[in-house]
């Protein structure tokens, strides 16, 4: 089922792109590459690793491993409105309804044999304990070897050394399974792509800061988290360039939706994955999501002479790994740089990591006069969605900001 989904997506998007060979079409190119990745994951003739969100996909890619974080599948199931079936399967097998639905959906897919069997599993302690628990369940279910990257929260020399040593150990673990040693040259190439993508990301985010902003509410949806899957490749560089070109084009031609921008907003953590017209609704109200909390480059360029240390520093630097006070400081910086009027925190049900500090985040942004709308919503499971209530609250919030 999933293979067909990705295969059809690849065909459909390729056809559309062929009809407009001169167009920039950044989002289509992005969707195409993600669909190709999905197809590879389900194709059965690749070395596959299911991972945690912050795994070093560039390094794994350079070792010939097709890898992805398991939550990606949860998001796809939700966006294609097929998650319900899998959520029920997981719940019937005893997975708590209070847990994160990204994990519950993907666990349901494992139990229903709708996931490709990995060759091995790499868990990451960042962003969350729940993610680690779910990949342990994967390893147990598939009887596959399991490796954990512990991402410390304290950003100290010892912490970086510890994580770098684990990443190095991970490469031996991977080699043992693929029978391919780590090639310094291939890793160097992947890191170079990563660095070029990072620079382009910075440019993209700088362009998004323009007032009025050239982004529309969907343009950079979950971009920071998902792009990590592609950044160590030529395709990743091409996509970033397409996004940058499209933003420049929008600014130059003035043909972007920015004309309607009355209110500038930040979205906290992940977006809602199933079809829910919040973007359109915000559009109608003249509000624009100009920045997502996770769309930022928080790391220094990767140093090919110290690859493991560079990757370790990058993993510890991202908001998923930060403690709340640092995370708030990061949000405050974004709020000032993007000159936002307010923020929306979806408070994804079941997420202790991101949603856990709800009150602390509201307070931290209030300290710099940025009001926060806390929506109590499940970003993946739409079964109990109180649509009307959410619409009313969003409307009232935007009205208050206006």
């Amino acid at each position: 089922m999933m293979y067909e989904h990705f295969d059809n997506a690849v065909k459909g998007i390729t056809e559309k792109l062929n009809q407009d060979p001169e167009g920039i079409n950044a989002r289509k190119k992005y969707a195409l590459e993600l669909s190709k990745l999905g197809k590879k994951l389900y194709s059965k003739d690749e070395n596959i690793a299911w991972c945690g969100v912050t795994a070093p996909f560039d390094l794994l890619g350079s070792m010939g491993v097709t890898s992805c974080f398991v939550e990606f599948v949860g998001a796809i199931l939700s966006s294609t409105q097929t998650a319900g079936l899998f959520l029920e399967e997981a719940e019937d097998s005893g997975f708590a309804t209070d847990s994160c639905a990204y994990h519950r959906a993907v666990m349901g897919a494992v139990l229903k044999n709708a996931m490709p069997e990995p060759d091995f599993i790499i868990g990451t302690s960042s962003p969350c304990t729940a993610g680690l628990a779910i990949v342990e369940n994967f390893a147990n279910q598939y009887k596959k070897d399991f490796f954990i990257l512990n991402v410390p929260q304290n950003y100290t020399k010892d912490a970086v050394k510890f994580l770098a040593a684990q990443i190095e150990e991970m490469t031996s673990f991977v080699s043992d399974h693929t029978k391919r040693p780590l090639s310094k040259e291939k890793l160097g190439i992947a890191l170079d792509y990563f660095n070029r993508s990072s620079q382009l990301l910075k440019d993209i985010y700088d362009l998004a800061k323009t007032k009025p902003s050239p982004v529309d509410n969907k343009f950079l949806k979950d971009f920071g988290t998902v792009m990590a899957l592609l950044m160590g490749t030529q395709q990743g560089v091409d996509i970033c360039r397409a996004f940058k070109d499209e933003l420049n084009h929008r600014i130059k031609t003035g043909r972007h939706h920015a004309s309607k921008e009355k209110i500038r907003l930040m979205w906290i953590q992940n977006r809602i994955q199933y079809p829910f017209p919040i973007n359109e609704m915000l559009d109608d109200l003249g509000a624009r999501l100009v920045v997502d909390e996770l769309n930022d480059v928080t790391w220094e360029p990767m140093d090919p002479d110290k690859p493991f240390e560079s990757i370790a520093k990058r993993m510890i630097s991202i908001p998923y790994s930060m403690d709340t006070s640092e995370r708030i400081r990061h949000m405050q910086d974004l709020a000032l740089a993007y000159r936002i009027d307010g923020a929306i925190n979806p408070c994804h049900w079941g997420c202790r990591q991101g949603t856990g500090p709800r009150g602390l985040i509201s307070k931290g942004l209030k300290d710099i006069n940025v009001p926060v709308l806390n929506l109590e919503i499940d970003c993946v499971d739409s079964r109990n969605l109180a649509k009307g209530q959410i619409e009313t609250r969003v409307e009232a919030f935007i009205e208050m900001l206006s």
Binding site: S93, C100, T129, L132, E136, F146, K363
Partner: protein, 359 residues
Amino acid sequence: MNKKIGFTCAYTPVPLIEAAGFSPFRIFPESKAPDQAGHLLHDNLCPHVKKVLNRALADDLPGLEGMVFINSCDSMRRLADAWHEARPDDRTILLDLPSGINNLSLDFLSKEYERLAKTLFKWNNESFSPEIIPEIKPEIELDKIKDKIATWNLLAASVKKIEEKMSLDYFPGIASALQQIINTAATDSTDKALAMAQKKIEPKEPAKAGKSPVFIFGNLLFDPKVYDLFEEWNVHVTASDFCTTSRFITPVDTRTDNNIFRSLADSYLKQTPCARTMDTAKPGSIAQRIVQRAKESNAKGVIGFILKFCDPYLARIPMIRQALQKESIPFIMLEGDCTMGSMGQQQTRIEAFTEMLGV
């Protein structure tokens, strides 16, 4: 009376707190403090963390010289974050705790424990003479730590003996008495707990028959009165696995390494098997461990007491259930806040379970 150091997680080595001249004070999630945690954290965090935060917000705590937090799970991380807001003047330290067990993790944790020891000694010296920080004398400090570990190990051995008795026969009141001993070690002193334990090794009352032997496990179950209730409800607790029961008194094998902190890391990471720690060589081994412990303690059934919203445990319940089923060991899981308050609601289910098990 010694000054107190607060902590919340069983991965905090009490011998280090005592060696630095403090008394341990584990903050149990039980209090009449109003529910205010939701102002800082989301309501979907475990009741353990919310109730401890409620205590902090309501000042329902004794004077504390500092707080030790462990980055053991997301909820605990968030508690550490919220503490700064709730009690901004407290000195705090957050230790990173690896999730997997291997050499790198053990080396790292040993450095974290060393950092804890240094911080605690510093906290004590500073508060004795704020102007002059005395020169650190590492040998004396190490000797103090070794001494405290030796007492701790005696306590662990005594607790083990009591548990062995419990698994063989039903002695009324022994489970509750054992909990009092463990709570004393968590909130007062190892010496006192040891004195209490030594008196309990030989039960005063003869063994009785007529109760259902049950192994219990979960996150926290710390109120001694709960164990009396179990007896009323026909349960003979043969053994337990909570981070507030015997697994809290982790014996420290000092023979494993010359470095005392490495010995601590080895012992705590390997022997305090809370669901948040994993043996990557055996994914899902928590399920096997529970089966094994239930069998070893001669239990006929297993009850899991799991805190609502606790990801580490809730995500492992399906595999635990499966493993017990495979061995035909009856199992029920009770979800709640694991305090006396919520226990009453469980009576009917527990009684029905023991009735089904028979004696």
